[in-house]
């Protein structure tokens, strides 16, 4: 965890700041009322809030989840891994992948790596348990399931050009 500086704001609430590796300061003002302000500090005057965005409690939660990745999915990943020795991975299909554009049957990912694709997520929506005719469109996300080494190999195939 990064070091968070907490400062009391009497009558208002509290302010929390972090300094990024690049030397910028970002903070949150937590009002007693539940309101949150997202604050970005000026590059040249690090004490000045050059941007301050007012968020309701709900908006703050949403933004927090977006910034923290998706804790729900990470938890799921961990649980499956621990219980069954299985990995679930979300892989974005690269246009340079040798499998890009092929149908699932043509790609034969399971035969090549031992890992299977249990869902495809793209602009047109998500396809759970896709059949062999569905295509691996570049930019779509494939949900890959299998043993850790199999998922690793599949990920390599879907994201990289052949060496």
């Amino acid at each position: 965890m990064r070091k968070v500086t907490e400062t009391d704001l009497p009558g208002v609430g509290a302010r929390f700041d972090i300094e990024t590796n690049a030397g910028r300061f970002v903070g949150v003002v937590a009002h007693q009322t539940g309101r949150r302000d997202l604050v970005i500090y000026d590059e040249h005057d690090i004490d000045r809030a050059c941007e301050s965005v007012e968020l309701t409690e709900d908006e703050g939660h949403t933004l927090g989840e977006l910034l923290g990745g998706s804790p729900m999915l990470e938890h799921l990943d961990d649980a499956v891994h621990r219980l069954e020795g299985i990995v679930i991975s979300w892989v974005t299909i690269d246009s340079k992948s040798p499998l890009a554009g092929l149908s699932l049957a043509e790609a034969a990912l399971r035969t090549k790596t031992g890992a299977g694709i249990v869902a495809l997520v793209g602009d047109s929506g998500s396809i759970p348990i896709p059949d062999g005719e569905k295509r691996l469109e570049p930019g779509d996300t494939a949900v890959v399931v299998g043993a850790p080494s199999a998922v690793k190999a599949a990920t390599r195939l879907l994201t990289r050009t052949t060496p």
């Binding site: 009391d8 704001l9 009558g11 300061f25 003002v29 604050v39 040249h44 690090i46 000045r48 809030a49």
Partner: protein, 391 residues
């Protein structure tokens, strides 16, 4: 009697409508409305453009309620714990603030030939910044997140708390007789303040729970009645009604606070405006030319000493030069407390009222403008210094 009643309503309507116009103008040109309310009060009443024979008495009562509501709302902002933590953390800044800003008023009072107690009141007038105006400026300019803002708020809290001691002491001095009886009065009032604060600290939660009601009407009446009663008793004990109301605000905590704010805010806005008008009414505008030069000089000196206070306090918190200047500029605005203090001595020294009115009008306007534009003031080596600080 019938016509008298009508006249009262007509005068009140005209005054309040006049204040409405002032509030709109202030908003349009981007300055606090308080100094303009004072000006309106100066223009009215004896020696002014229009006298208010029927409504002055009512306005006077409204003004007292205005002070009580302002202080109650201020107290609601803080919890007892917050106050204690703050005093521990910012004692030094608080002392610097007091020394630098009490002195100009006190010395000026002595030079002007006021007696020591009135000089002490003038010292109080120059010491205390307006937490109300400053908090509003900070929010309006979106500077709550700024690093120096925590320093500014801490200084303001200590000033407000200092009033809890200062007001009973000066009331005791003003209304006491012999040295012995005065000392006794002051001692009694200080003990009473501490006792009330202790009760607030220990029983605040329980009192809040008792006062809470689902009915807005019942809650409003409970808050208003309870606060007026405590404030009135505090006034009787020479602790000052303002301090009594502040302590009630501090004592309340939890759910009741947010509901109380919502219920009391409209009332506060009305009666606070009435308070400033009433203060203006009491001041004879013909005295203003006599004190204008003194007010300008004292204002100029305290602009410098307040900026120095903010500069030092923010510097101790590790804040860069532009932030230190902003902290100083934020503290310039004087307002409600300065007027509350001056009002104590107005009967004894009418020049004090005129001086305080002129002083507050100048400082509030200058303070609002300086704080707004403090970022445009170029500071030597600004960028380099800040760049260094972030590495």
């Amino acid at each position: 009697m019938e016509t008298g009643g009508d006249l009262l309503i007509i005068e009140l309507g005209a005054v309040v409508l006049g204040l409405a116009i002032i509030a709109r103008v202030a908003r349009r040109i981007g300055v606090p409305a308080l100094p303009l309310y004072l000006l309106a009060g100066l223009a009215l009443g004896e020696g002014g453009l229009v006298e208010l024979p029927a409504s002055t008495e009512f306005i006077e009562a409204g003004a007292e309620i205005g002070v009580i509501l302002m202080l109650l709302m201020l107290g609601l902002e803080f919890s007892a714990r917050e106050l204690i933590v703050n005093v521990r953390r910012s004692t030094l800044a608080g002392i610097v603030d007091f020394v630098l800003n009490f002195a100009p008023g006190f010395v000026a009072g002595v030079i002007l030939g006021f007696d020591p107690i009135i000089s002490g009141l003038l010292g109080g007038v120059t010491y205390i910044s307006s937490s109300g105006i400053v908090a509003k400026l900070v929010a309006d300019l979106d500077r709550i997140g700024n690093h120096e803002t925590s320093v500014v708020l801490s200084v303001l809290v200590i000033e407000d708390l200092a009033m809890v001691i200062y007001l009973p002491v000066v009331s005791g001095l003003l209304f006491g007789g012999t040295v012995l009886s005065t000392t006794l009065t002051v001692a009694v009032s200080l003990v009473a303040v501490i006792a009330v604060l202790a009760v607030a600290y220990l029983l605040g939660d329980r009192l809040s729970a008792i006062a809470l009601s689902k009915s807005s009407e019942a809650l409003l009446l409970t808050l208003l009645g309870g606060t007026l009663l405590v404030a009135g008793l505090a006034g009787r004990l020479n602790i000052s009604t303002a301090v009594g109301a502040f302590v009630v605000g501090v004592a309340l905590s939890g759910e009741i606070v947010s509901r109380a704010r919502g219920l009391l805010l409209p009332l506060r806005n009305l009666f606070a405006a009435v308070f400033f008008v009433f203060f203006g009414l009491q001041v004879d505008p013909s005295l203003i030319p006599n004190v204008a030069v003194a007010a300008l000089v004292i204002a100029a000196v305290t602009i410098v000493t307040k900026i120095a206070t903010g500069w030092i306090a923010a510097g101790r918190a590790g804040i860069g030069r532009p932030g230190r200047l902003r902290a100083g500029a934020a503290l310039i605005a004087h307002g409600e407390f300065s007027i509350v203090i001056a009002e104590l001595g107005i009967a004894r020294e009418s020049d004090l009222g005129a001086l305080a009115a002129a002083y507050v009008i100048i400082l509030t306007l200058v303070g609002a403008v300086l704080y707004q534009f403090s970022d445009s003031i170029p500071l030597a080596r600004r960028k380099r210094l800040i760049g260094d600080a972030s590495r």
